[in-house]
Symmetry: C3
Subunit: 266 residues, 3 copies
């Protein structure tokens, strides 16, 4: 079975970074299949990267190796780690980027990446994606076991970040934040449908207040509202989204990540 | 022979959409080769997508499976279809996106995609690219025949869109529109060289009037004019294009898609 | 062993150009692995392309075939060439784009691409990436030797471009230019650490003057300075870079490619 390495970074598509990473991987593991999850994570936004990885990884084949590099502290003494879970491998800086996936996956082993034998011979201070993370992912795809890369690290000792903001006032009043804005300008929020029982309630009963805007009721799909109307709906990852049918909610509403809002049931 | 699945969408490269679609495909068909035609179709511009697909598909190997998802009515009751032609497969929403290719290809079978066995177990209302179109393309690449996916649909009953605007006033006077603007700012028009016999006439005899601009004669290549000069030429897909040598015609001329213009022979 | 074809262009990701090139390659060589180095070279910037290729190619597996297309004179009488070196193949317009790599690689053969048998049957005047360079790369990956494509060209007779600007005033005073600005807004300069002996000197002794800005000392990594502080460091390709920790130097400093600056030792 061909092995898959899946890359997620904030490196963008302007430079040779991603191309060079792929060259390094194929030098070590010529038959590996390399995929891009996305390279347009907002620059140095670890929380967004953690969220995107969390809502994506389970769609990939078992055994896939994820390389997640959003790494503002590259070159400092932050650790580099590899994690084996029941179903996948994850290679990343130890800065919290794996927080959400590791809450869900059964962890088998975590190691710190210290053995120079499995890194490029020259390590830069700014591009560990090429020098450390890419080679490690390639060696994993060739069957090298994690214990070769360095010492075990306990789960308790790796860095975690906060969950996306989600506050329960009472059983009818909640608040959340915008965690990601997609290519269409849709606002993906921190509210999971299952968290507040959205599926089990009359969707029409909910009211969302965000900035100067008020949305009455949650729609099932874009087709439930007229063109250019604002709507809220349960997005494809199970999180509530705010959008404009055939329009761009980010541009129209002037919204950004981290903006908070209220949702309540009448 | 390795099978090719070719993706074209308006999903952009900012999100995890394309990455996740590839994960879904490889889960079902691990050895398939996945290619990107482009994911930067203008948001919800079905006509542009139909044009881009039409001018691209024949360059791909026989048997290639095209997944074309520009889908403003996702979640409504618009149909999802798969088409087998003599040379290729096409998987798409039934919104006219396949209009131009199906006018050229010999159609063998069209089916509506209704059998849940060949879709993800949970279908969102907003991301059928992941939940329906990706799995179907993977199953086709594994040799599952179209009749398994749902009932036959007649060609007459699928949605068509208008051809790009092209008007014949008389044998010397025509008008067209800008159908696409490329990465260099070149304006690709709806005028096919073969439609008005451009190849058989003295190229110098044609006059193009667009907005406040007038172009005298059609050039063979950029090298025919000075730097920063406006020119018209027959582009690489057989359509007339308007450009500026070593410059950006869209920016300089302030042009957009759908703008109309006249072309005449003196 | 699977063969790798690596594409670098200024075609961007907006259009179908790159997708179609891959289709053409797979039509000829169905099992070839196609990689993107980058397609966001600044439009028609041959010098930047030459620099990016030079700092990237050696990370790819031996035998890789590079297709480098930044081609402002496509359709003129500029030559198209293929080069075999000890380790790699390069396919490109003869406009200097290969200047820097060919100074490093041992050249075995250079040919002009003239034999129509190894090109598409119809050659456009504007898209030789699709019509000539893609097919040639595919035929090389299938083992066709260069002598089949056209006549030998001497190294002395191919086009070269100037090296990036680097001036030695005396052993303590140098000047350089910004040659590339990356996705993070970091300014990559023409100063190689090895050229001025940066590694062998006290890094703190250097002073960089660029525009109205003055940087005292060269840092080892971003972590050496406070957030939002300007710094200079030796980047991952061995060239000095100017950046802002957790910030965007291009935006903050208002910088562009080609801007010159001084560096001196106190």
């Amino acid at each position: 079975m061909r092995k898959n390495i899946v890359l997620m970074t904030d490196f963008g598509y302007k430079d040779n970074f991603i191309g060079v990473i792929k060259g390094v991987i194929l030098n070590i593991a010529p038959n590996t299949n390399i995929l891009d999850l996305t390279h347009n994570i907002q620059s140095q936004n670890i929380k967004q990267a953690a969220f995107i990885l969390d809502t994506s990884y389970s769609f990939f084949p078992e055994g896939s190796i994820f390389v997640a590099v959003v790494d503002p502290d590259v070159g400092s003494n932050r650790k580099a780690i590899a994690v084996k879970t029941c179903n996948y491998y994850f290679v990343a800086p130890d800065n919290g980027i794996l927080t959400y996936v590791l809450e869900k996956e059964k962890i088998i082993e975590i190691v710190e990446l210290t053995n120079p034998k499995y890194q490029l011979s020259q390590i830069s201070n700014t591009f560990h994606g090429r020098d450390i993370f890419a080679p490690i992912s390639a060696y994993i795809s060739k069957g090298i076991t994690l214990n070769n890369f360095g010492s075990t690290v306990k789960y308790n000792n790796i860095t975690k970040i906060n969950k996306p903001y989600f506050n329960i006032q009472d059983s009818n009043h909640f608040s959340g934040e915008i965690i990601h804005i997609d290519n269409f300008g849709n606002l993906i929020t921190s509210i999971q449908a299952s968290q507040i029982g959205l599926e089990n309630n009359n969707l029409k009963d909910w009211i969302i207040e965000i900035g100067v805007y008020k949305i009455n009721g949650i729609s099932k799909s874009f087709a439930d509202v007229e063109e250019n109307q604002l709507l809220a709906f349960i997005g494809s990852s199970g999180y509530m989204e705010i959008a404009i049918r055939n329009g761009n909610a980010r541009e129209y509403m002037g919204m950004n990540s981290n903006i908070k809002f209220n949702i309540s049931k009448s």
